[in-house]
């Protein structure tokens, strides 16, 4: 089984870099050479290029929800996305749409996708570090990713 851990985000916009920081730490702690770890600052259609060809993909990214607390961690599975696909904008291509598109065009899409999202506090100012609340969540997310890989 080909597995990918993909950290998504922007490493110079404070909490938006949390996905990439988690991926770095996962790479440090991982002993399994069968698992690829990558980072990307792209989104949308470019995501297809990153995930095609893998059987299992774990994505880590920042998120902002209406009532979430900074540092809160969510775990989402592919089934949770089909809902967001229809609620999203007609004009952008989010993960769910990208998956659907990949299937439509017979690209090798992963069967299993898990997303760990960390509630962000600040994604509009420039910093290479996360806010303390989000920083504190990083070790926990790393643990969850490693557990997911073992599962």
């Amino acid at each position: 089984m080909k597995t990918l851990v993909l950290g998504m985000g922007n490493p110079i916009i404070t909490d938006d870099g949390v996905g990439i920081q988690v991926a770095h730490e996962v790479a440090n702690q991982l002993n399994d050479s069968q698992v690829a770890v990558a980072e990307t600052s792209a989104a949308g259609l470019s995501l297809l290029d990153s995930i095609a060809g893998y059987d299992k993909v774990i994505i880590i990214d920042a998120i902002q929800t209406e009532k979430g607390q900074a540092g809160q961690i969510y775990r989402m599975r592919t089934e949770d996305f089909s809902l967001t696909k229809h609620l999203s904008s007609p004009h952008q291509i989010n993960l769910a749409t990208a998956l659907e598109l990949g299937k439509m065009l017979n690209l090798a899409m992963p069967q299993e996708i898990t997303v760990f999202a960390v509630e962000a506090k600040d994604i509009t100012s420039f910093s290479e570090k996360c806010t303390p609340e989000v920083e504190q969540a990083i070790p926990e997310v790393v643990k969850m990713v490693l557990q997911e890989l073992d599962a």
Binding site: M8, G9, N10, P11, I12, I13, D16, T40, S41, A42, A43, G44, L45, S46, L48, D49, D61, A62, I63, Q64, T84, H86, S88, S89, P90, H91, Q92, I93, N94, L95, T97, E100, L101, M104, L105, L107, V115, A117, A120, I123, T124, S125, F126, S127
Partner: protein
């Protein structure tokens, strides 16, 4: 009327807001637009080594990193007073042309296309790339993915890394290409030219041959007579990588043409109390408010503006399309905002042709890719055309090349005033007393700003990716009548 205060101090939570206030009779009283700004970048870059700036700034934007990389690289040439080698310039422009192919393709098929191919009244479930591919066919859909994928290979190969090139240096670039790579680039370029031609045909069949769309394009609601800005080469032809900034009026007359170092003599910024956004305008014309016309300093920097500001395209197929667009729409300049989508596809064709030309240039595989700077750095300005508008990078350093001050005017910033005006006009014209506010109607208001393709994906990077936007309409009593959001 209930008073609602728009407090710009309120955090926008990373998305844009259009707020529309209605009169008692249901007509539009006022419209406001707020877009999240990149704040604190100047502070963030102070103390950094200038040579790192193409690497740092390309991380501002997940959609057009190559544009920042290129503007930063040219600012470094100027900062270090060094001229790049001829091969380096060509390699830069080759990578840049390939980038334009990917970016303009993405915009048409994913962002703009759904409006036209599916129609503004189609349900959200269909009005996206899946619907578009359903309509244009799996083969063309596959070609969209493939063209992007192949051109990403070019960017990665020439630029040294996927998405974020490690390529630009003061005086040159970091690596040369060999014959095997060159040959593959040439093949991809040929395919990209065919793909661009096909895309223009789709536009022709779906948009131009549809009277309802053509009427919309030509309508007063979506017309704006502002100044046009774009980079031109020495023959006044559109060039994305290099040249002088040319500004042409809504009447077609040239206002000015200037080199990067003169930009502050021509552009000033207006501050308004209801938003953090600053509104650049033409100094020599002056700020007359959010109005168009040749007496107002408001200008646009979009694909359409570039075509208006130039005398033509530098490659033959694109030139033929350029002439066709202007003869179809009644001559130069074209002030129909929706024609920006057409202009973008003409640029797509030009980018592909230019890529092909450069891949065949006898110098392109030369190992002579860098002139080492010898002068002390002090101040430099680099300007390129980002897909979304003229992009300016300005660095001031100490004599070791450490940044003291940095100013960026990103593509979308040029268009803040014009974007606001387009939205305001569409809202005023489309929301009338007694007219039911449907999603289709609000989509038509969105169609007023989508041609500008505001690039703030830097500001938000949660799962969605593109600029999330919220449109809220309040009645005269201050009650929320309707809310539409995308990507939130």
């Amino acid at each position: 009327m209930k008073r609602i205060t728009i407090d710009p101090i309120t955090r926008l939570e990373g998305h844009g807001k259009i707020t529309i206030f209605l009169n008692e009779d249901g007509s539009v009283a006022n419209t406001y637009l707020q877009i999240p700004e990149l704040r604190g970048f100047e502070k963030f870059s102070e103390g950094r080594i200038a040579e790192d700036m193409p690497q740092i700034t390309q991380r501002i934007c997940g959609v057009c990193p190559e544009a920042h990389h290129m503007a930063g690289t040219k600012a470094l040439d100027d900062l270090f007073h060094v001229e790049p080698t001829s091969t380096a310039k060509k390699l830069r422009e080759l990578l840049y042309s390939s980038f334009y192919v990917t970016d303009h393709t993405t915009h048409f098929y994913i962002l703009a296309g759904p409006d036209f191919v599916m129609g503004p009244d189609a349900s959200p479930a269909e009005r996206n790339i899946l619907g578009v591919i359903g309509k244009v066919g799996l083969e063309l859909g596959g070609a969209v993915i493939n063209t992007r994928k192949q051109n990403h290979w070019i960017i990665q190969t020439v630029g040294g890394r996927p998405i974020h090139p490690c390529f630009g240096l003061p005086g040159g670039v970091s690596r040369a290409i060999n014959e095997e790579e060159r040959a593959k680039i040439e093949e991809i370029a040929k395919g990209s030219v065919e793909f661009a031609k096909l895309t223009l045909k789709v536009f022709d069949d779906v948009v131009l041959k549809n009277k309802a769309y053509l009427d919309m394009i030509l309508s007063d609601t979506f017309t704006q007579k502002s100044y046009n800005m774009g980079l031109v080469d020495k023959n006044n032809k559109v060039n994305f990588y290099d040249g002088k900034v040319r500004v042409v009026g809504p009447d077609g007359k040239e206002l000015c043409k200037y080199g990067p170092r003169e930009y502050l003599e021509h552009i000033a910024e207006r501050v308004e109390p209801w938003t953090y956004l600053k509104f650049p305008y033409l100094k020599k014309v002056g700020w007359k408010g959010f109005v168009d016309g040749k007496d107002s300093g408001v200008y646009r920097a979009t694909p359409l503006s570039r075509l208006n500001a130039a005398d033509g395209m530098a490659t033959p197929l694109a030139q033929a399309e350029y002439e066709r667009m202007y003869s179809t729409l009644g001559g130069k300049p074209v002030n129909y905002t929706l024609a920006t989508h057409w202009a973008r596809l003409i640029e797509l064709l030009y980018a592909a042709e230019r890529l092909l030309e450069l891949s065949r240039d006898p110098e392109i595989t030369s190992p002579n890719i860098r002139n080492i700077p010898t002068a002390k750095p002090d101040e430099g300005v680099g300007i390129v055309e980002a897909p979304r508008g003229t992009l300016t990078h300005h660095y001031i350093t100490d004599e070791k090349g450490v940044i003291k001050k940095c100013n960026l005017i990103v593509g979308t910033t040029n268009n803040h005033a014009a974007l606001f005006m387009s939205v305001r006009k569409a809202a005023a014209d489309l929301i009338k007393p007694g007219v039911k506010i449907t999603e289709g109607l609000l989509n038509r208001i969105e169609m007023a700003w989508r041609p500008y393709d505001p690039c703030m994906s830097c500001a938000t990077h949660a799962l969605p990716g593109q600029l999330p936007l919220e449109v809220t309409i309040y009645d005269a009593q201050g009650n929320e009548v309707k809310k539409l959001s995308q990507g939130i």
